[in-house]
């Protein structure tokens, strides 16, 4: 394949990665923005979403679209409830102290991951996509005979991947409407601005925190259900999304939602493109190191406003 079509293919892959990443990172960002805590177990909620999707589709059988459709709704809900429960019994008790929350969520990470290992097992298990048509893509070239449209061999994607991109856009819009137009969303944002004042005005901050923690985990799970037909469910699959989501949230500016979206696009696209052209390990080394440097020298994020 020529360079041009190759780049286009890489960009498409990047777009799919971005789509999943934006949902996962949004979850992490909302939790940090409102509750001011870092949830290290976020990747495990992602993994749980994928594993639950496998259970649900296997249990229901029938047409893949049926199981997938149910999983798309039920898995995030279950994960969200579990997270809200964990918030009640663990995080609330330690008063959301930032340091202790990190330690507690590290504990939660291992509990979720290892329980999955004991029940789901160490194998990677596939979930069938609800639909999966191969779509060849055209390429335009300016050759000897003027402008021509060609169909390079290998330049193709699937209908499912396009669906993932579309679904992420829809969810993002829904989330935006939820946060800006609904009462619960407004309460969440009020709590984010100033939890003490919110409390003084009768906002049940404790409950809001549980909702937010559940919402954050649910978003990660949703991303995982979407990705599981492309990438199989495995008990260790939460690690990379956690790291990438961290990177996105840091670049975008901790707790800034628009920053998170832009950063997810940036990271997802470059991850897709870089790993097509370069050694993935080297790409990861550079990315991880650069992110650490961003935190050191611009803690408000690359896209955040300058120091307060």
């Amino acid at each position: 394949m020529e360079f041009g079509p190759h780049l286009m293919l890489a960009s498409l892959e990047g777009a799919v990665i971005s789509a999943i990443l934006v949902l996962t990172a949004m979850g992490l960002s909302i939790v940090f923005g409102v509750m001011r805590v870092v949830n290290v177990a976020h990747g495990e909620f992602f993994m749980l979403g994928a594993v639950l999707a496998w259970y649900i589709t296997t249990l229901l059988g029938g047409h893949p679209a049926l199981g997938f459709g149910v999983a798309l709704i039920v898995a995030p809900l279950l994960v969200g409830c579990l997270a809200a429960f964990a918030d009640r019994v663990i995080l609330k008790r330690i008063n959301y102290d930032p340091d202790r929350t990190i330690v507690a969520t590290i504990g939660m990470l291992y509990i979720i991951q290892q329980t999955t290992l004991m029940t789901f097992g160490p194998e990677a298990r596939p979930v069938e996509a609800p639909f999966n048509h191969r779509l060849s893509l055209p390429w335009f070239e300016f050759g000897e005979n003027g402008f021509a449209m060609t169909w390079p061999w290998g330049l193709s994607t699937t209908s499912y991947k396009l669906f993932v991109i579309g679904a992420a856009v829809v969810v993002l819009i829904a989330l935006w409407v939820f946060l800006t137009r609904t009462k619960i969303g407004l309460i969440m944002r009020a709590t984010q601005q100033d939890s003490e004042t919110a409390q003084a005005f009768g906002v049940p901050v404790g409950q809001v925190y549980s909702w937010v923690f559940g919402l954050g985990a649910g978003l990660a799970a949703l991303g995982a259900v979407l990705v599981v037909p492309i990438q199989q469910a495995h008990y260790l699959m939460g690690h990379d999304p956690l790291l990438l989501a961290f990177i996105v949230v840091i670049i975008g500016g901790l707790g800034s939602l628009p920053g998170t979206v832009i950063a997810a696009l940036l990271i997802g696209m470059s991850d897709g493109i870089i790993s097509v052209f370069f050694s993935p390990t080297l790409a990861k080394i550079i990315a991880t190191f650069l992110v650490a440097m961003v935190l050191v020298f611009r803690p408000q994020g690359l896209l955040g406003k300058t120091a307060p």
């Binding site: 870092v38 663990i90 008790r93 330690i94 930032p98 340091d99 202790r100 990190i102 330690v103 507690a104 590290i106 504990g107 939660m108 990470l109 291992y110 509990i111 979720i112 991951q113 290892q114 329980t115 290992l117 004991m118 790291l243 961290f246 840091i250 050694s279 390990t281 080297l282 990861k284 080394i285 991880t288 190191f289 992110v291 650490a292 440097m293 935190l295 050191v296 020298f297 803690p299």
Partner: protein, 314 residues
């Protein structure tokens, strides 16, 4: 008896107990204890930074690994004699800690945790990237002949136990003394109230850097000891999990106490040892213990004892 004498007695008692245990324990447990002592060095290095200075690093595995690889590679590719390689290992860790400190200490709190985590992740990936030398996840073995320390065979059960014991004892006593010096007390002051410490004329940034370098060097020394005594060098030791372990040990044993790290490692080793007989998901225990500790006993075993029963405890 003054509390100073009492704590000396406690430290001496721990060391004497370890010598006696060698003669009465069956071989299997002697082997476990050797490992516990080496990992306790790691935990003590971590404790200086976390327990005494109040800085939570989530990337200490990079210092352990720096020591381990500094030592292992110096022997494998540099043909260094063991004592020289030992020094190379510890210095690599100290140097890495210096560089990481100069950068990461510009941040504080949650950002410091994430930055150290990211640096450690970078270090882990670097180990994988240079798999040609490091042999990546698979790691490499140091042969018996490559590990003789001043003619001493550290591969026998006895040689290994007493080498581990000596290294442990030196670090244990040295760190216990260090935290009693004015320097150590200033670290505690920074942990308690950094701004107040600064407004008493202490250069908090510099003290934190020193603490990180010493902590990194001790953690590196643990890595060197591990490679020396168990003959294995591998990327596993630079994974996130090995950054979490010292936190777990220190929290369990009691942060900011001299014997906490050792107690924590001892408990956790036997907890995992026993539970891995039943399941391969033994890290579940670690998770449960972490959550229970943060919620119910943030001071750990030694910390709770100190608060409730023995206020003199160091």
């Amino acid at each position: 008896m003054t509390s100073f004498n009492k704590s000396n007695l406690l430290h001496f008692g721990v060391l004497a107990g370890l010598v006696i245990l060698f003669f009465i324990l069956p071989t299997y447990h002697v082997g476990v204890l050797s490992r516990v002592m080496v990992m306790a060095i790691y935990a003590m290095g971590f404790n200086l930074l976390f327990g005494y200075t109040g800085l939570l690093s989530l990337g200490h595995a990079m210092f352990f690994a720096a020591g381990m690889y500094g030592f292992g590679l110096a022997i494998k590719f540099g043909g260094f004699p063991v004592p020289a390689a030992f020094v190379v290992g510890v210095l690599s860790a100290a140097l890495l800690a210096l560089v990481v400190g100069l950068l990461a200490l510009r941040t504080a709190g949650v950002a410091f945790m994430i930055v150290t985590l990211m640096f450690a992740q970078t270090a882990y990936l670097v180990v994988l990237y240079f798999g040609k030398y490091t042999r990546g996840d698979e790691g490499f073995i140091l042969q018996q002949a490559e590990r003789s320390l001043f003619g001493l065979d550290v591969t026998t059960e006895t040689g290994r136990y007493f080498t581990a014991f000596t290294l442990f004892a030196v670090c244990f006593i040295a760190l216990a003394k260090l935290v009693q010096t004015p320097f150590g007390k200033r670290l505690v002051a920074i942990r308690e109230n950094e701004e107040r410490a600064r407004m008493l004329g202490y250069d908090a940034g510099r003290y934190k850097l020193y603490a990180l370098v010493i902590s990194g060097a001790v953690s590196g020394l643990a890595g060197v000891s591990y490679a020396l005594l168990f003959g294995y060098v591998g990327a596993t030791f630079s994974t996130v999990q090995y950054s979490i372990f010292p936190l777990l040990w220190v929290l369990l044993g009691g942060a900011g106490t001299t014997i906490g790290p050792f107690i924590g490692v001892l408990f956790m080793f036997y907890l995992i040892d026993i539970s891995s007989g039943y399941t391969n998901a033994y890290m579940l225990i670690a998770g449960v213990v972490l959550v229970l500790l943060t919620v119910f006993a943030p001071k750990g075993i030694a910390g709770t004892l100190k608060a409730r029963v023995f206020p003199w405890m160091p």
